[in-house]
Symmetry: C2
Subunit: 630 residues, 2 copies
């Protein structure tokens, strides 16, 4: 699978773009004309620069408003084409994209267009160049790849071919099976883009909302499989117009693009009866069976605060690490590591302030396979010095910070806490057990610009799907929330994308080290019993506005007695078509970290309708004059 | 015209919102339920707080999924209503909004809905409350105000009325004349919102893109005029869901809202044969006849750099101020003031760094009328100490910084430069005259969040219209550009909204004092003669990539000789259906300020297609290692 990306897909000036594209692992690059025009160097300089980066120019684009021009405009249109050909020869690329005409003066007619392309093919052939024709979804006469193909067929010239773009085909819901009958040698290049499903004007949608395959909702995999069926073995090239990407990190967006193509190839390879694209084989997406541990890093003072809260939550310090200043706190299947080492990853790689949960371990079927897949998809592995006889747990860096450890039960990895840790004498059982059983979900706060990066990262490596995006209203702005989860419920990550620094999420990002775990939710099977135990332990719940309870009672027609109990314990309530949900939050500490306890009675969601009330309550605590920090 | 705004329209927590709403001059406020629920105070507390701010609660909203529920759900729906009524009585408001049902279990039927409302009316009447029914544009059965009105008519209950919302009616292009037949006493409240015309899913459009009347493209004035025809004299209330507003400045958005309603009332008052809404009469929008002057502020060192550039542009220092350190540089009808006073507005109110054009004077028919209108629309007047016998020029603050002076020729204002300034002996004419005739346009860079604020400010005070928004591609992100101009071309302001700090525009905002003039464009009638003169004066043009010229020649089919001349002088070229456009830019200096010289041969636009090349060239100069700063 030969990979390419259009320069227009990422931010930066041309040299910066090319460097990021090469570094991300692409084989080739489409030169978007404006990037070339704005660059202060000759076409030859640009061509040389591209090749010096080890890239091939896969396409020069776009050439607009060519076919079907009236006689008054036809000559000038061909003159324009000849000028583009001049540039292409200097650049050192043989393929140009002609997109279907949108000019109001253009004339319709398949044969007229075919004649124009035949003549253009003749001119191109003289220079050893090729011309690919693409149907824009909003083309004036041609807006369907089947019509474009008919024109290419009738032009009947070896230097004239078809260019297919997933967005133009899928946005118009054109039957992708129509692709299977196109001869592979007439498909000059394939462009790929995904997009979120929002019903809007096609041009507006295309110009602002495109994203990488797998980041949106279009059936790009099926489209690509149809291409593969033709035997096509040329470039798959990303052409993404996206406002966020234009303002985002050049390197990170380029890396996402490459990941998206490799993942796409892998998905097509796995389809039944599909022709394979040439991508390196890699293990299946890793099936997550649980959260092995979550690791906090803190200095001694902050750690003392954290530990005090963990105790009110009923956690007991059960083990300490053999060689590092790491303590293990447990309850049910939950393991929390508190790392107070002054050196090592936790305190050197990031400017960590206060307490943060910078690492989590995911339990998978086969940790080495999961690592291999992650690396094949461009994730950066993480290694650290390991003491004699201790377990070396495979790990990868998150895309914007943090670490993900991979553990399984088939090796010593599953016994790392027995091998690396020394059990402690049972602490005096002054605390009431809170019956917290497992990690329900991990809530990660990320910059909104990085939401898609994280979604693609998680869903390409792990067997998981993303849920639709939900808007959470923070008093200071909108926060976008989206969930990565698997069918079994053993992997549940909520991602909250903050657009500005004044939102709770935005403030967390600004005050910590970027993307990070902002809260951990634990599951109980009896929220009221847990709440009672916590109360005895001195746990300080997040106080919820009493107005909330009047509404929740009316909204769901709750028994007033239940409402009273909810209110007394500051428990939030929700329902979906599957059942009921109860949420109890801790007060916030440090830079905005907090804990949540949930009980699910069949409920599938995450209490999104309650988020606005939770945020209001948290913000109140964090205001000057709010609750003192612990 | 009684004004109101829904709490959901602006950012912040409830007390902050109410304070801003009161300060902006609204008479009342709609309490959006979630704002109340998230607030940690009783309904009585909220009611008291609202009244303490001098506001009335105009509406409590929304109550969803009420009418047409099947028997299995009907009782609970009425129970829910009774709970809302409880809250309303505590809050101290008598009106609740019921929006048309979107529940999949709801049943259709006009009479069924009317029966439900009749019963609800009975219950409301017992408590002295009223219920308004609004057709959501995406309601399951009812999505047209005409159908909602039919239900209200058949419910036939004095406590049941209609709520009209401009967005729901106009987004579906429903004939607004249908409003004229509704009795005024059955319209319980009117909600207003505008929106940009983008063809997309109605719900998505409504939730994210609404804006203040006059900020969008919907015919809100005609809608309001139809309301006025009924004799309605109740509240006009803004209900705006907008992602930007949710993250924007609470005070500034509230102020925009109030301005938009007053301006709307004024527009309706001016319609022929329209019933008037009760708004204070104010002078007509001021017709701008030219730019009187632009004033720069700088310290002595920066001023010297600026003056050196002005000289290469052919400006001569013609006068100095009687009592202040202000020099007047002129050429043609262009007057530039260079203010090096260390005290006074220019250097105290803002943290000004380097050189900036912080004030402009607009020539209008009647400056006192323009000032009166601006003040009636909430603009803040500006006064400064004036020396004995000097002219006191009326002025207003811009919405995000800067000053706008208002001058006319009917008073001493027109002679301010004769009265306040002392002519200088003619400077030795070492410079070649550049034939710059007038200010063509003033380019203002603003934070993207403030774009709509500025557009409404300018178009409500001055007789001008806005052009559609254009996306300008900066290597570091998208910049949105929109123009405020009048028909005569005497007022031309381009507003560039920067979303991030890495774009050229964003950097300018970050490094100066917020919104400000980033470039000034002067008009010449002969760009080549001007360019030749400038060259002799040592003017340093902005170097444009030579690739640009190859493309521009092909694109417009230019005579190669012309292309050569353009290239030699670094002149950019564009065409529209009216004619040709030539643009010559200066190098940048200070924090990114620059000058432009244009020649219009009938052309109406601003060279938007060239912006990408101009930005690339400017950024190159501003890079470390680029051109040294002057």
């Amino acid at each position: 699978m030969k990979t390419s990306i259009a320069t227009v897909s990422i931010s930066g000036e041309l040299p910066e773009k090319l460097e990021a594209i090469a570094k991300a692992g692409f084989d080739g690059v489409e030169i978007f004309e404006n990037d070339f025009l704005a660059f202060d160097g000759s076409p030859r300089d640009v061509g040389k620069m591209v090749r010096d980066f080890g890239l091939e120019i896969t396409l020069f684009q776009p050439f607009r408003d060519f076919e079907g021009m009236p006689p008054s405009h036809r000559q000038r249109t061909f003159d324009r084409a000849e000028r583009k050909f001049d540039v292409m020869q200097e650049l050192g690329t043989d393929l140009v994209l002609v997109c279907s005409n949108v000019s109001p003066v253009s004339l319709g007619g398949i044969d007229r267009a075919a004649d124009d392309f035949r003549e253009l093919g003749e001119r191109a052939a003289k220079r050893g160049l090729r011309v690919g024709y693409e149907a824009l979804a909003w083309g004036r006469h041609i807006n369907d790849h089947r019509d474009a193909w008919e024109i290419v067929r009738r032009a009947d010239h070896p230097n004239i071919g078809l260019i297919l773009d997933s967005f133009h085909t899928l946005s118009r819901k054109i039957d992708i099976n129509s692709i299977r009958s196109v001869p592979k040698d007439k498909i000059f290049i394939v462009q790929l883009a995904d997009a979120p499903l929002i019903d809007m004007d096609l041009l507006y949608w295309s110009r602002h909302f495109r994203n990488m395959p797998g980041e949106g909702d279009l059936p790009v995999t099926a489209f690509t499989a149809a291409i593969a069926e033709t035997g096509y073995d040329g470039y798959f090239s990303l052409e993404i117009f996206n406002d966020q990407f234009r303002g985002g990190s050049t390197r990170s967006i380029a890396a996402d693009g490459h990941r998206s193509l490799i993942y796409l190839g892998d998905q097509v390879r796995r389809l039944p009866n599909s022709k394979r694209l040439n991508v390196p084989p890699m293990p299946d997406r890793a099936k997550v069976k649980g959260v092995g541990f979550v690791e906090f890093t803190a200095d001694e003072t902050d750690a003392a605060n954290l530990i005090a809260i963990l105790k009110t939550l009923g956690f007991r310090k059960t083990k300490i690490h053999r060689s590092k200043k790491v303590a293990l706190y447990s309850q049910g299947d939950i393991r929390l590591l508190v790392n107070t080492e002054e050196k090592g990853f936790a305190n050197t790689s990031f400017a960590v302030h206060g307490t943060s949960a910078y690492a989590m371990a995911l339990e998978v079927e086969n940790a080495q396979d999961a690592l291999a897949r992650a690396v094949a998809l461009g994730a950066e592995p993480f290694r650290q010095p390991v003491g004699e006889g201790e377990v070396d747990i495979p790990a990868i860096h998150g895309v914007g910070g943090g670490l993900i450890y991979l553990i399984d039960t088939r090796s010593d990895l599953g016994r790392f806490s027995e091998i690396d840790f020394i059990p402690l004498e049972d602490e005096a059982a002054v605390l009431v057990p809170a019956n917290l059983e497992r990690v329900d979900h991990i809530a990660q706060t990320v910059s909104y610009d990085e939401m898609l990066t994280w979604l693609l990262f998680y869903t390409s490596i792990f067997e998981a799907h993303k849920t639709p995006m939900v808007d959470i209203i923070d008093p200071s702005g909108v926060v976008r929330s989206q969930v990565v989860e698997n069918d079994s419920g053993d992997l549940r990550l909520t991602l909250n994308g903050a657009e500005n620094r004044r939102t709770l999420a935005g403030r967390f990002i600004a005050e910590t080290f970027g993307s990070g775990v902002q809260h951990l939710a634990f599951e109980t099977k009896d929220i009221f019993a847990t709440a009672a135990a916590l109360r005895q332990n001195g746990f300080r719940p997040l106080p919820i506005s009493s107005n909330y309870y009047g509404d929740v009672e009316a909204r769901f027609g709750l028994d007033p007695e239940l409402t009273e109990r909810l209110k007394a314990e500051n428990i939030l309530y929700d329902q979906d078509e599957h059942g009921e949900y109860f949420q109890l939050y801790s007060s916030t500490f440090g830079e905005g970290f907090f804990f949540e306890i949930v009980e699910r009675r069949g409920y599938h969601g995450y209490g999104a309708p309650n988020a606005i009330f939770r945020i209001a309550a948290l913000k109140k605590q964090m205001r000057p004059g709010g609750l003192p920090r612990e």
